[in-house]
């Protein structure tokens, strides 16, 4: 039955569109591709846009990173954190409990108050954190269930515009999550409320480049 429907639909669609020659290359693209900010400007815009959404942002040098991570974790008031397998051991300081994800159950992840991950990219214009869920960002579930998400973004990963991000990754990722501010709703009288289902608290450490 389904095989027939497939043919039926495709035949109808073909019949409806036979006369239309229309090439992909002819789609006009006069919108802004690359931005014009310098790296410092990009970092500032990223930080500003994240804070507009209510995310917390701190900067760090590469050398200070482990210390800043510990400090931010402490400030969160959480004690138990889940992390993906691929993070540098130096990021996982003492004083809190770590669960390293491999194949943790939903319940085990749900027990964690927070999550620490890296990011694949940052888009300054929209304050977007991009996760492609590789070894340093982890499975989708770990950055979803815990209430607090601490995300490490290198300044060199920040692009200014969304088109720049797509230029950076011409091969589509198998999985991607774009986070532009913490979970929110405006479903009741258009009043913006943070934290419906995803993490209620998003904290970002932007790591300045060496040199």
């Amino acid at each position: 039955m389904t095989a027939n429907s497939r043919q039926f639909i495709l035949d109808r669609v073909r019949a409806a569109t036979t006369a239309d020659a229309n090439r992909y290359q002819d789609i006009p693209r006069d919108y802004i591709g690359a931005g014009n900010l310098d790296p410092q400007g990009r970092l500032h815009l990223m930080s500003e846009r994240l804070q507009e959404y209510g995310a917390e942002v701190v900067e760090s040098s590469p050398a200070d990173l482990p210390q800043i991570i510990s400090h931010q974790l402490q400030l969160s008031g959480k004690h138990h954190f889940v992390v993906p397998q691929g993070l540098p051991a130096g990021w996982l300081g003492s004083g809190v409990t770590w669960s390293i994800d491999g194949n943790l159950s939903h319940e085990e992840i749900e027990q964690c108050g927070g999550v620490l991950t890296a990011a694949s990219a940052g888009v300054a214009d929209s304050g977007t954190i991009v996760l492609h869920h590789g070894p340093m960002e982890g499975r989708r579930i770990i950055s979803l269930l815990p209430d607090f998400h601490l995300c490490i973004l290198r300044a060199s990963q920040i692009v200014e515009t969304l088109p720049e991000y797509f230029a950076l990754f011409p091969m589509p990722p198998r999985l991607a999550t774009y986070i532009s501010g913490p979970s929110a709703t405006a479903d009741i009288e258009m009043t913006r409320i943070k934290g419906v289902h995803g993490p209620r608290f998003l904290s970002v450490i932007i790591v300045r480049d060496d040199g």
Binding site: T2, N22, S183, E189
Partner: protein, 485 residues
């Protein structure tokens, strides 16, 4: 009070359905407030975007390109999604889509299913079918949850419960969640929903979603949301079923650089939505290990074949046309008798019904074209409305009785009069003479007899001026002749 009827096949005509709503001041206040807030946010973010018109042009051209080459892109999507571990199903109509989904759920032995807000599921009336099969469908979008628990129906494509205010939400949650002490501030209400749904997310192994975009290039699916309920449904269950209209395809991953920008700004007045999720098929160890996608035609291939109407399928469901529409802003969504309300609903619903139902909807518009101006993919809604009106008129034409139909006779007479200058002058002269009797001293016509009274029942008409334009033209000083010397 019985709930609103959202099935276009049995819903009353628009003017009839709108009447009780126009008397519901609370609902109108809620709708006005919500649409004002979204529009203000949208306008601010569109104004800051220097390349807004260029983005619109590109988005419209991308969607038009997809439609012109739809079969190719659908096959490409199918091939790549299948290679990534997804199972692709094709459904000619609503009944077939429901059956495919029910069969999958039966095989999964699912007693419950969690759902991400999907307009397409409302279009095929999936929830009643699930209920009839003994499967509990749990809506996880906050607005949809409010409506489901309150036995209400969506009235907006993006914020479906915008007609309900906080006191009403409190009452529904208190009653249905057993929380008599619940206060009515949105923060507490949202927290109650979070707690209520968290257990479901962790325990229900099957989810149903819609789709914002399908990417042909790699067979991936994109969902845009704010709350995180989408991410929950896409990540926690063992099995995921996605229902998508065949028109939702985009050629490439990078086309999102345009579509995501225009969608977020138009829909919620944000630079990007808080959460965008993309996945291809099945990823070992991460998320559902079974993924089904149902590609739904349900009248779309028919729309595709019509020259003027095809653009209807460019829609990306942002609802900007609803928020700006002077008709929607007065009536809210329920009067449209379909999950698709507002200007886009007025053109989409009758076409999905093969012009056999909802014929009053193309008339639910003042043709002011505000919808066209805000549409991020440049759908010329007024143009389609007029074309559909012509189809409705053609449908209603009865060759046998038309010589007694005043509308037909009037149009025939007008056609004759406008056909020559002499006849037009004559008609003007008669018209002037005839209308004189009904024109008040201040130059306004307030009451016409017979059929004309249907016009003056709710409107005043300015009387004809003393002089026609032609008379004025022939009597005026020939200025131009002097100048040219």
């Amino acid at each position: 009070m019985s709930g609103p009827v959202m099935d276009p096949r049995i819903a009353p005509p628009f003017p009839q359905a709108a009447l009780p709503i126009l008397q519901n001041t609370q609902l109108r206040k809620n709708v006005a407030h919500a649409t004002d807030v979204i529009q203000a946010k949208r306008n601010r973010l569109v104004a800051e975007k220097q390349d807004w018109q260029e983005l619109r042009t590109s988005a419209a051209a991308t969607r038009a390109h997809v439609l012109a080459n739809l079969a190719t892109y659908l096959e490409q999507f199918e091939k790549n999604c299948t290679a990534a571990g997804g199972v692709v199903h094709w459904a000619r109509d609503a009944a077939e889509a429901r059956q495919i989904i029910l069969d999958i759920l039966l095989e999964e032995k699912a007693g419950e299913v969690i759902k991400i807000k999907t307009m397409t599921s409302a279009e095929i009336q999936l929830n009643p079918a699930l209920e009839a099969a003994g499967i509990a469908a749990i809506e996880t979008d906050l607005a949809e949850l409010i409506l489901q628990l309150g036995n209400d129906e969506p009235s907006h494509i993006v914020v479906p419960a915008l007609h309900v205010n906080r006191q009403q939400v409190r009452e529904i949650f208190a009653r249905r969640m057993g929380l008599p002490e619940l206060p009515d501030d949105p923060q507490a209400l949202t927290a109650a929903a979070r707690t209520y749904l968290r257990k479901k997310f962790l325990s229900v192994p099957t989810a149903i979603s819609g789709a914002n975009f399908l990417i042909a290039e790699d067979g991936s699916v994109v969902i845009v949301e704010s709350e995180g309920n989408g991410r929950m449904c896409l990540t926690l269950p063992r099995t995921l079923i996605t229902l998508a209209g065949i028109e939702k395809v985009l050629p490439r991953f990078s086309d999102l650089e345009v579509l995501l920008q225009v969608l977020a700004r138009s829909a919620t007045g944000e630079r990007l939505n808080p959460y965008n999720s993309l996945w291809s098929g099945v990823t070992p160890g991460d998320g559902p290990q079974k993924f089904h996608i149902v590609l739904l035609d349900n009248g779309r291939s028919e729309i595709l074949g019509r020259k003027v109407e095809r653009q209807t399928l460019q829609c990306i469901r942002c609802a900007a046309c609803l928020n700006t529409c002077p008709v929607y802003r007065q009536t809210g969504g329920h009067a449209y008798g379909s999950p698709y309300a507002g200007p886009i609903g007025a053109i989409l619903t009758p076409q999905l019904e093969h012009m056999r139902h909802a014929q009053s909807l193309p008339y639910a518009s003042s043709l002011c074209a505000a919808c066209y101006e805000v549409c991020p993919v440049k759908i010329n809604i007024p143009e389609v409305l007029i074309d559909l009106r012509a189809q409705v008129v053609d449908q209603e034409r009865n060759e046998g009785t038309r010589w007694t139909d005043p509308m037909y006779l009037g149009m025939k007479a007008a056609n004759f009069a406008f056909g020559s200058a002499a006849r037009f002058r004559m008609a003007q002269w008669f018209g002037r003479l005839g209308l004189k009797f009904f024109t008040d001293r201040d130059g306004w016509i307030r009451k016409l007899p017979n059929l004309g009274s249907r016009w003056t029942l709710s409107r005043d008409l300015p009387g004809l001026p003393d002089q026609t334009f032609r008379q004025w033209w022939s009597e005026r000083e020939p200025v131009r002749g002097k100048e040219s010397k």
